[in-house]
Amino acid sequence: MGLIDNLEKYAEHQNLSKDKRMMFDSFMKKGFPTTRDEEWKYTSLKKVVKSEYNLIQKHSEIDNSIINNHSLGIEDKIVFVDGNLVSSPEVKGVHVSGFSDFDCRNNDVISELNSALAKSGFTIVVEKDTVVENPIEILFFNFTKNSFSQYRNRITVGENSELKIIENIQDLSKSSTLINHFTHISCDKNTKVEYNKIQNNSKDSSLIDCMNIFQNQDSVCEVNTLIFGGGLIRNNLNFEQNGTNCESNMNGISLLDNNQFADNHTFVDHKTAHCRSNEMYKGIYLGESKGVFNGKIMVRQDAQKIDAFQSNNNLLLSDNSTIDSKPQLEIYADDVKCSHGCTIGQLDEEALFYMRSRGIGVSEAKAVLTYAFASEVIENLSIPELKNLSQKLLAHKLNVDLDFSL
């Protein structure tokens, strides 16, 4: 027994359409990816899928205090509790609703599974010429023990519109859970979209997140992935540029300890000319934590004058932490500027002594240097509440009482 069996049994009782049945069968035929699969070489799902899961989330009531505890204090909130949409904001020019099914190309077996069985998620449509001033916070709460939940979300942003999102998935079940999260974002011409993910869960909750972003000309899209904890986290972040003068930005922080694991797989598909992409991922690993970074940049033949930048810097703060980092550049155009860099290091001893000689204790000095390492990403966060939370979580994870703001 295991997740596969749970899924098979569950699917028998679902009235799946022909297409969905085909997708599910295709998934069942292939099964979950293993480390023999190139894209999953460093990320083993073996342990996670061996467990038994509840595929039906029980409907629980949520106390407002729980929502407020996990919220950044942002007014406009979309709240899911055990897969049910319990609250959505009224924002001019923005239509928020629950799950509405949509077809799109599947990335892999896991998105096939999502496509076949997911019945929950949000749909956001931003009308054209709408600048959404305040960010929208999306909170997913799970209380169902040992649940396997799937969300399928879609965001459509109309021409000349702007949108900022903060997404926070909170597993409060105090048990082993797995989430298969899929989000499809279409950015129309001249849009500006910012999506922030807070991934901060217990070591028992695992998350596989796939986000596909399609950009039309003159659009700018930024995704910030802030990982502060979790059992197994896999983020697939895919950008497809389908018009000139697009900009795709992705930044990430992974701060892990104990046996936590996080894998960031990014892919930028430069299909059109005069576009940019910037990628900056910082990893900080304590204890026996493990990180993976795989950044692929594809520049197609017609995509001239591309400016693509990628960096992945890692700090290993313990002897037993590891990082596997792999840049992948595939360039078929001849007039492009692509650069990538990867570093793996420890804290600078000279700097540590310098700080200690100024009265800053060892753990505090290490924390300050670690913050300094991560600050390029944290300081760039545009939402003050999010910046503040990141600073607090960093201090908390490093076990120091420091205020990094000034």
């Binding site: 700097a351 002594f353 310098y354 200690r356 000689s357 100024r358 009265g359 204790g361 505090e364 300094a372």
Partner: protein, 247 residues
């Protein structure tokens, strides 16, 4: 205030300090001069608590306490300050944030609450004025992209903020042009009181024209081979080190 007795220290391979004796009292300024490789910077690093060096023999007593038993941060809390010859660049931390943290940690160790932001900023402004430091400086990253002179001024700025009892200025004059040297020296002089002491480590007599020492010591091959008043510095400038080291 500081009593160094027969201090022998070095790395695992070599002994660098070969029996230093030095006493510094409150209110005094001591200059330690000497040629390259004589052990000047090692002495300051040992006092500040750098772990690269091993204490082989002797003792360093600071205000009645064995300094060698303390961690570098504890020494700082007790009032020891080292102005680095090569201040370290720390990208990602602003000067103000660094100093705020440093001061808060020192106050915490002394059982005090952090200074209220208003008082801290006021203090920073006063000390900046003392050292002719421009406004935008506080938000720059710690020593990142600073010129040699700016780095040294930043050291003295931290010293002014931390108000140490014993300050060791390791080659603070190197990399300073004459105007910056005057500003830095002026700052150091203004920070002098009858309760604190300064050790100036330098190659050249130039700095000592501005920070006038009560005592001058010549360090050579890990030992103090000659001590005297401020005239000794002038004599060294004139004759070089050879006339004593060759004796």
């Amino acid at each position: 205030m500081l009593k160094i007795k027969n201090l022998k220290a070095g790395t695992e391979e070599v002994q660098i300090l070969k029996g230093i004796n030095l006493e510094v009292k409150a209110g005094e300024v001591h200059a330690i001069m000497g040629p390259n490789g004589s052990g000047k910077s090692t002495l300051s690093a040992v006092i500040a608590g750098k772990e690269d060096y091993e204490l082989e023999d002797g003792s360093v007593d600071f205000l009645g306490e064995d300094l060698m038993d303390l961690d570098p941060e504890e020494r700082a809390h007790k009032g020891v300050f080292l102005s680095f010859q090569y201040p370290v660049e720390i990208p990602g931390i602003s000067v103000s944030n660094f100093i705020k943290t440093s001061l808060a940690e020192k106050r915490k160790a002394l059982g005090l609450d952090p200074l209220p932001a208003k008082d801290l900023l006021k203090m920073m402004r006063e000390k900046m004025e003392l050292l002719s430091i421009k406004k935008g400086y506080l938000s720059r990253n710690m020593n990142e992209g600073f010129s040699g002179g700016e780095k040294k001024r930043n050291e003295i700025f931290q010293m002014a903020m931390l108000e140490p009892k014993l300050s060791i200025l390791d080659e603070t004059d190197s990399g300073l042009d004459i105007d910056a040297l005057r500003i830095v020296a002026n700052g150091v002089n203004k920070l002098r009181t009858k309760d604190n002491a300064t050790i100036v480590i330098t190659h050249y007599q130039r700095l000592l024209e501005h920070i006038v020492p009560d005592f001058v010591h010549v360090l050579h091959d890990g030992r103090i081979i000659k001590s005297g008043g401020k005239e000794l510095a002038l004599e060294l400038e004139e004759k070089g080190y050879d006339w004593i080291t060759k004796k």
